[in-house]
């Protein structure tokens, strides 16, 4: 038992554990063994990282007990040291809880539409769920989306939106503002806008006026100049579109820009398999002939892709990291006199 205790509190065990976890995380973040690098949380949720963290938890816990006993024997409070160890313990427990309880998913939500919290409403392939997690029960109604395009060489921008949020058991709705920069917390769930686009309503008819199809395809047409495409069922066409809310930002002037209308306009290119059958700027509410069909764009909605994260582990990890940071500050300030011999050879001799 003594030998096991000495092994656990030895510096080699701590170094080995730390080296294992750090190497595993670095390999995961580098993506050297995978097509796409994983996020930090997903790497820490994998079995090898969890096993390493469990070992680390045991080592740190035993060290905390020995440290606290040594400090009380010496008549010192050792606040920064205890805070440090407890911060690490809380962080590790938070990661372990997160691995089981984290739920993460993304939804598309156009203006004027609602999301009822149904698991089927999440974008396919976007859901990441721990074994004991479940989707947050809530209802969202998108009232307004405001994109802000900074323009310039990198075409960067940000998006803000207003939602009506109803949580579980809430009998009232509350207005909530979310954005693309910082996650917003409501009832333990984080919301953040990941991307934004436009959904132009199209109407496709044949030469006799018979309706072939109409819909609001959700296209990534932001920032201005970004192109996306959609296809229509039972038609051989692919429609490639760009949207310019302001005609002044149009760079490609090889094709004539229509003068009618004052607002935004679309750049439309239509391909029928390997042939381009239409290429030009189109104005909303005008009908254009595309090969043997006719198309018009009559309405425009904005949509946002919202990331929803529910993770109880974050509420342990964040205070744990804060405790570690505060303990380092305290220790640096006070130049603590933690006896270095506590975990060294002298204590090993004493315990034998």
């Amino acid at each position: 038992m003594v030998k096991l205790k000495n092994l656990i509190i030895s510096s080699e065990a701590l170094a080995a554990c730390a080296a294992f976890i750090v190497t595993y995380v670095c390999l995961g973040l580098s993506g050297i063994f995978s097509s796409v690098p994983s996020s930090l949380m997903k790497i820490l949720h994998k079995p090898p990282a969890l096993i390493g963290l469990l070992f680390l938890l045991v080592i740190i816990f035993v060290r905390l007990l020995i440290f606290a006993k040594a400090r009380s024997t010496a008549g010192q409070n050792g606040v920064s040291g205890i805070l440090f160890y407890m911060g690490i313990i809380l962080t590790i427990i938070g990661i372990l809880v997160s691995s089981q309880m984290r739920f993460e998913g993304r939804i598309y939500l156009p203006e004027g539409e609602s999301f009822s919290g149904d698991a089927r409403g999440y974008i396919e392939g976007s859901v990441y769920a721990g074994k004991r997690s479940f989707p947050p029960a809530m209802k969202l109604h998108m009232t307004n989306i405001s994109p802000f395009f900074r323009g310039g060489r990198f075409g960067s921008g940000s998006i803000a939106s207003e939602l009506l949020y109803t949580g579980v058991g809430n009998k009232y709705e509350k207005k909530m503002k979310i954005n693309s920069a910082v996650p917003v917390l409501a009832d333990g769930v984080f919301f953040r806008i990941r991307s934004f686009g436009y959904a132009p309503f199209y109407r496709l008819t044949d030469s006799s006026g018979k309706l072939l199809d109409e819909a609001y395809p959700m296209l990534r047409l932001f920032p201005p100049g970004a192109e996306d495409s959609f296809r229509v069922e039972k038609q051989p066409y692919t429609f490639y579109m760009k949207y310019y809310p302001d005609r002044a930002v149009i760079r490609d002037k090889k094709i004539p820009i229509p003068e009618q209308g004052k607002g935004g306009l679309y750049k439309l290119r239509v391909a029928r398999n390997l042939e381009v059958v239409f290429n030009g700027y189109v104005v909303p509410n005008e009908i254009y002939q595309v090969d043997s069909t006719y198309i018009s764009f009559e309405d425009l909605r904005k949509w946002a892709e919202i990331e929803i994260v529910k993770d109880y582990g974050i509420f342990m990890i964040a205070p744990g990291l804060l405790m570690i940071f505060v303990s380092i500050l305290l220790g640096w300030r006070r130049k603590t006199n933690v006896p270095k011999e506590v975990f060294g050879k002298e204590s090993v001799e004493e315990n034998r």
């Binding site: 080995a16 080296a19 490639y240």
Partner: protein, 186 residues
Amino acid sequence: MNRYVKVCACAVILSVFAAFITVPSAWDNLRFKIGNYDIEGETALVKNAIRQFSAHIAGFYDSGGAAAGLNTIPAANMVKRRIAMDIRDLIDKGKVLAIDRDKSSVKQILFADLTHAVAVVDEDWFSQYQDAQLRARKPLSAKKAGFITVRYFLKKMWSRWIIIDYEVYLRDDEMMPVPFEQFLQW
């Protein structure tokens, strides 16, 4: 100090082993990242797949969509379905589209990993509508030339590169960046 180094080295090796065995296709991804694969061979296979695709769809269009032609096209079912739908639409209107690729020039081939590739190709096509009913295939339109740039998305399945989607641009059109993260999930 030596003990620390030995212990940490063992932990690092164990960690690398754990990372390797817990990621699917880890060995293939590693080979790709360090460049240990036959890039010239794979490039030639990709070019061959695109060449076969162009040749076979031309034949498929010319035959009016004979079902046997479908199996020869190195493309995903969604792509074949679109082509078949176009041909059926033309047949319903009493037409056949005779297409012929005159020239093609591969501008760029990018490998996202060992099983995903993107190829940008300049292609010159001639096309003409002909009467589907008459054996002599009477022309219904003048021969038209089309100068396009096609971005092909390919995936290697059962040791064979197949086209899973493509985008058609006019020459000198601005191309959007490849959505790699989305593409690797196809």
